[in-house]
């Protein structure tokens, strides 16, 4: 065979693409079908969140924080509210803490349902998408009953909540949990142990544990690589130390530790654990208490700075606040988990086929609103 001169091709997986989960552009350098280098281009959704936060007072920043990671709004609100409360040193009533945990965990289930549904869509399965959104609509009904909104709530305020839970909420929540727990088995039958899905995702895009820590990857991506680290258990905030649940770590039953299948499976198992936490919180919910009594009239923290982190469905969400004594923050930096998770794409995506890059990107579960802020 005579020597054929080959060249690398640059393919643009552009900002508009059905599988990039938002407006992300990947410049792929490929040698035939095999990808040699991935160069992400970000910023197509840069909405100047940090500039807004410097010009608004502390409570007014909460709706903007919502819109950064729009699939996990309750967790974003929770993280920001806890950061400012730590700054001010406020104590919260018990009922507020329990309701916050219930909503945060329900939101975690809803966010993982979207992640699973769209991952199935990327890999070629359309049915799990419809099934996941069916359960998600039931959770959104619960949210709408309480605060009126389906997607972006502005519910968890600094020092309390905006509305108390209505009558009938607890019964409806128990009904939802009884309906949801058998469905995990249905998802496992449909997708997790499906032979085609396993061939598509097992042993693809393996991420070693030390590389994950160096890149700052957190959340299910880190736990799937075998590192047993969860902020709710290891650095407990709010009242998470009162509940009994397990942290799910990647295993090598199907494929190897740190591949796409494990990143997917950790999310399925986490939904089950979150349902356990919600059930325990509903059982222990105190019946009386005012949700608005600890909201301060004027928020004017002392000079200083603080970094506070909490566990988002995507990983470690951190807020770095700098105050100069005025009612408006001097600097609010949001350390977004999806930005750190996306950093590993060049390490684990190179050397695979283009179709595998789609599966790897889907397993990292990114939300562009949070990356670009």
């Amino acid at each position: 065979m005579p020597d054929i001169r080959t060249e690398e091709m640059v393919i643009n997986m552009g900002p508009q693409h059905p599988s990039t989960h938002g407006v992300l552009r990947l410049k792929l350098r490929t040698d035939g079908e095999i990808v040699t280098h991935i160069d992400p281009v970000l910023g197509y959704l840069h909405r100047c969140f940090e500039k807004h936060a410097e010009n608004l007072e502390y409570p007014q920043v909460v709706p903007f924080v919502d819109r950064c990671d729009y699939l996990a709004s309750m967790n974003n609100d929770h993280g920001y509210a806890m950061a400012v409360e730590k700054f001010l040193g406020i104590e919260l009533p018990e009922r507020v803490e329990y309701i916050r945990v219930i909503f945060a965990e329900l939101q975690r289930i809803a966010s993982h349902l979207v992640a699973l549904g769209t991952f199935g869509l990327d890999v070629g399965a359309f049915t799990p998408f419809l099934y996941c959104f069916r359960e998600r609509e039931m959770i959104l009904d619960l949210f709408e009953m309480t605060c009126g909104a389906r997607l972006l709530y502005n519910y968890i305020w600094v020092g309390g909540l905006s509305h108390d839970i209505p009558e009938g909420f607890v019964e409806k929540a128990y009904e939802f949990l009884d309906h949801f727990e058998p469905k995990i088995k249905e998802y496992n039958d449909l997708l997790s142990y499906n032979k085609i899905f396993i061939e598509r995702t097992a042993d693809v895009g393996t991420l070693p544990a030390d590389v994950a820590i160096s890149y700052g990857a957190t959340g299910p991506v880190l736990r799937a690589s075998g590192v047993d680290w969860d902020l709710r258990r290891d650095e407990p905030y709010s009242i998470y130390d009162r509940f009994d649940w397990d942290v799910v770590v990647g295993n090598d039953d199907v494929g190897s530790v740190g591949d796409c299948w494990n990143r997917y499976y950790v999310r399925v198992a986490e939904m089950e654990e979150s349902a356990k936490i919600v059930r325990q919180a509903l059982d222990q919910l105190p019946v009386d208490g005012d949700v608005k009594e600890a909201i301060p009239r004027k928020i004017r923290p002392d000079k200083g700075d603080l970094y506070f982190r909490s566990e988002n469905p995507r990983g470690e969400l951190g807020f770095y606040l700098v105050s100069d004594g005025s009612p408006k923050p001097m600097r609010v930096k949001m350390r977004s988990p999806a930005l750190a998770n996306l950093g590993v794409i060049d390490e684990i995506g190179s050397g695979w086929l283009i179709a595998d890059v789609v599966a790897i990107l889907g397993s990292l579960d990114i939300v562009l609103g949070e990356i670009d802020r």
Partner: protein, 163 residues
């Protein structure tokens, strides 16, 4: 109707060609899924099982060349605005644009200090229907689609329009 009556069997319908074309086009608006931000999740919910988009004949297409309607769902930034224009130009005539959410209508909550946010997608493409809300409920998007269907039905294709 005079000389045509009772001449043929009862399965012949007489009408205007424009109305037939308008009826056919409005009942199959294949939309170009251009979800940018939070409104994209509500668009996906509208396409899922509870608020079914498919019963209106609307199928999601990923390529602009196969689509009739472009639903701009989410905030359009300066960097993305150039690409929105390019994609709109790649769609084949007749094409329509639905601007979903308050970010695509007028900049949304980012109007005040957003240096990188385009205040309304109608600065780059012509818009037919505006759907307000932050984010609009799926039912609001369905109403926007129904208003677009009425607009398509009334469009004249063969009748000469006085300039």
């Amino acid at each position: 109707m005079g000389f045509l009556e009772h001449k043929f069997n009862d399965n012949i319908i007489v009408g205007q060609v424009d109305k037939l074309i308008g009826w056919a086009r409005s009942n199959s608006p294949w939309y170009f899924q251009f979800g940018l931000a939070c409104c994209a999740i509500e668009m996906m919910s509208a396409a899922a099982a509870r608020y079914d988009f498919d019963r209106f004949g609307a199928m999601p297409r990923s390529s602009p060349r196969q689509a009739d309607v472009m639903i701009v769902a989410g905030t359009v930034t300066m960097k993305m605005g150039l690409r929105v224009r390019k994609l709109w130009e790649q769609m084949a005539d007749p094409k329509y644009v639905i601007s979903m959410g308050s970010c695509a209508t007028a900049g949304g909550p980012y109007w005040q200090h957003g240096y990188h946010v385009l205040k309304g997608v109608d600065l780059v493409v012509p818009v037919d229907v505006y759907v307000p809300g932050c984010p609009p409920r799926p039912e609001a998007l369905l109403e926007g689609l129904m208003k677009l269907q009425e607009k398509i039905k009334k469009q004249k294709t063969l009748v000469k329009i006085d300039e």
